[in-house]
């Protein structure tokens, strides 16, 4: 019997939700555990097997000097490296520090800031090492994760959509919340993958899956601003779990500085 591919799961700054998605694939978990060797996955097992690994899955963002070194080490050990979730692909919610003085955050949360060592920024894995595939979402979609592992085992490219949440909304026949309720919704510029759940629950998309291919969030924001949305509300909407993703980051900065122009090519 050929040796099973070795799978490793690494955690950086995160909430554990994305790696939990693997344990949440209850119907597939034991099958996955049978098809690969789960060589390193601290949240799930004590036993660890040394690298190199065939597939490395990385959750979380880089926020400390130690982790900046560790990710290089992880990269060296993994033949194929996948980053999963908004933390790993865009820096996560903790990237909000990128707009603030971290010293101020530290003294705000911790009584003894001198005990804490942290970087001034939270950055995605791909800013530090080459990543072979990125799976988006906060959290990721567990079916996409299973598809990803299955396709890696078969040596084909994972099938993950790159169109917008709007397309998913239309497929499920959800009434557009931006049109019907007049709320600012990020669906037109956000990558699909969640199943467009928010609009189906009567609320706006707030961008968990990050920018879709070639989005134009600046013009979308300008459109909402014209329709009456508060400028700072739009800035905050863009600065959630994918705040540091370049398209959302740049758009939020432009809107904040008042430089966003009014062509509404991305109107829903």
């Amino acid at each position: 019997m050929a040796a099973k591919p070795k799978l490793a799961v690494f955690k950086f700054a995160s909430c554990d939700g994305c790696q939990l998605s693997l344990l949440d694939a209850e119907d597939e978990l034991l099958a996955v555990a049978g098809a690969v060797e789960i060589a390193y996955f601290l949240e799930a097992r004590t036993q660890t097997v040394d690298g190199p690994y065939d597939v490395g899955i990385v959750e979380g963002s880089v926020t400390t000097e130690h982790d900046r070194q560790r990710i290089r080490d992880v990269r060296r050990q993994c033949k194929y490296l996948v980053s999963i979730g908004a933390c790993a692909t865009a820096g996560g919610i903790q990237a909000l520090r990128n707009w603030a003085a971290v010293d101020e955050f530290i003294s705000h949360v911790y009584a003894r800031p001198d005990y804490i060592s942290t970087l001034a920024t939270s950055t995605p894995i791909a800013e530090h090492v080459t990543v072979d595939f990125e799976l988006r979402g906060c959290p990721i979609n567990k079916y996409q994760l299973v598809e990803l592992i299955a396709s890696l085992l078969k040596g084909r490219k994972p099938r993950v959509p790159e169109y917008s949440v709007c397309v998913e909304c239309k497929r499920r026949g959800t009434v557009c919340v931006a049109v019907a309720q007049g709320v600012a919704c990020l669906g037109p510029v956000t990558q699909a993958g969640c199943g467009a759940i928010c609009p189906s629950y009567n609320r706006e998309c707030f961008g968990c899956y990050g920018p879709k291919e070639q989005p134009n969030p600046t013009s979308l924001a300008a459109h909402y601003a014209e329709a009456g949305s508060d400028k700072m509300h739009l800035v905050r909407l863009l600065r959630n779990f994918n705040a540091h993703a370049p398209a959302f980051r740049d758009a939020s900065d432009l809107v904040e500085s008042g430089a966003a122009s009014g062509d509404a090519t991305e109107a829903p």
Binding site: L42, R45, R97, Y110, C138, C194, Y201, N202, H233
Partner: protein
């Protein structure tokens, strides 16, 4: 002179988040125990300032992928108090149902995949499944039903999107909930079987006069409401929490560490504390099975926490069934109107791992001016270390590997959630170089 010895667990496994354990011994005397929570801090309280009230439940969910609902619940209630918003009884009941889903999902994961392997001599649920496939599959299905409940109520299981200040963005779908009833009934029986399984485990002989702390409500087992009570007789409204509990910052940790005032003593929150303080409020079936499971409650043995979780699984399934059966009209409106104004509000709810306290100040600009969050694992951290100081002398006769495994088992009694405490563990057992040599077989 007794040899020095150190035990170390560099990266604790089967816990949520990253942490380490370091124990230093002089002979058989424990000199130093340190639960080192090194997970990088994420500064939630810092960046919540300046955010909108309605964004808070969505943001704080991301503190923890395993118990996002707990964060959403404590935050929503605290902000409702700050704004003077009352929610309807229907929404109150549905919030209990959401919590049932989270307890089921979190407890089933911990009992079967993370903790049972310690009692049965396996390194993981995955290895356990090789020999006890039926049991692990039962645990996975129980967990899945909890997740399905969350999907219906919240849109998705991890970081639900339907919980908001004032209620729900959309009322949960009646048909879908009713369709889950057969699964919930299966889950109830599976929980009863789970209790039989775990109550028969071999437990280390252990007794500690813990200071147990939990919410307590006269009419119900606590999820969202109640006073804060303790086994030594404290009984306060949640508004007075910060007068009786304080957070300290330890050098070894990126988490804050809570103590009970004025003695600065450690205390225990979570399933064993709830069972201790709220046994009378267990729903009838859970109560009957708890009475007859062969363990005398209240228990002062924290290795029984896995049994307490199994009892709470019965309670959660039992209550979920009752709520779903009675859910005949979708509430309309699905949420109370959000009228913004400056104010301060605090609230605590019972996360799967114990009391979770939030306080928010809403400023003149109607944005968050101040946020404070005290997660269960920070509250338990002092008690985990106190347990270890008492436990380590019992395992010093073992080799390093066996001794550290035992310590990790003890730590898992707490189901620590290090991402919540901002952060998890690595265990170091410092036996000193000479000692370490001498101790090797």
């Amino acid at each position: 002179m007794p040899a020095n010895r150190t035990f170390e667990v560099k990266a604790l496994s089967r816990v949520e988040g990253e942490g380490a354990l370091y124990v230093k011994l002089a002979g058989d005397v424990v000199e130093h125990v340190e639960l080192n929570i090194y997970e990088p801090p994420r500064f939630y309280e810092g960046f919540l300032r300046g955010r909108e009230v309605r964004e808070v439940p969505d943001i704080v969910a991301r503190i923890c992928g395993i118990c996002p609902v707990a964060y959403q619940m404590s935050a929503s209630h605290a902000l409702e108090k700050a704004l003077g918003i009352e929610v309807s009884p229907e929404i109150r009941t549905l919030r209990r149902l959401v919590y049932c889903g989270e307890w089921i999902e979190s407890h089933a994961l911990h009992v079967y995949l993370l903790h049972a392997p310690d009692f049965l001599g396996y390194e993981s649920g995955i290895s356990l499944a090789a020999d006890h496939k039926d049991a692990v599959e039962r645990g996975l299905r129980m967990k899945k039903i909890g997740n399905e409940l969350l999907e219906i109520l919240g849109g998705r299981a991890i970081h639900p999107i339907n919980v908001t200040v004032g209620g729900f963005h959309r009322s949960p779908d009646r048909e879908r909930l009713k369709a889950l009833l057969p699964d919930l009934e299966w889950g109830l029986q599976a929980s009863i079987d789970t209790l039989a399984l775990v109550a028969a485990f071999d437990f280390p002989d252990w007794h500690d006069e813990y200071e147990f702390v939990s919410l307590q409500h006269p009419d119900e087992y606590p999820y969202n409401h109640g006073q804060v009570v303790s086994s030594s007789g404290l009984r306060i409204d949640v508004e007075d929490y910060e007068e009786h509990f304080a957070e300290r910052h330890m050098p070894q940790s990126t988490a804050l560490h809570s103590v009970m005032l004025p003695e600065e003593k450690s205390y225990l929150v979570g399933p064993l504390a709830r069972l201790h303080l709220c046994y009378e409020q267990l729903p009838p079936l859970a109560r009957r099975h708890a009475d007859n499971c062969g363990i005398a409650w209240p228990s002062h043995n924290n290795f029984h926490s896995i049994v307490a979780r199994a009892i709470e699984l019965i309670a959660a399934y039992e209550e979920a069934i009752e709520i779903v059966r009675a859910y005949n009209a979708e509430p309309s409106p699905s949420r109370a109107e959000l009228v913004l104004r400056p104010g301060v509000g605090c609230h605590a709810t019972e996360a799967p791992r114990g009391l979770l306290y939030h306080r928010y100040e809403v400023g003149e600009d109607h944005l968050i001016a101040e946020a404070k969050i005290v997660p269960p694992t920070s509250q338990n951290q002092g008690q985990i270390e106190a347990d270890l100081r008492q436990y380590v002398p019992r395992v010093t006769h073992l080799d390093d590997l066996a001794a550290t495994r035992r310590c990790e088992h003890l730590i898992r009694n707490y189901d620590p959630c290090i991402s919540c405490a901002t952060h998890f563990l690595t265990l170091t057992l410092d036996r000193g170089e000479k000692g370490a040599e001498a101790d090797r077989p």
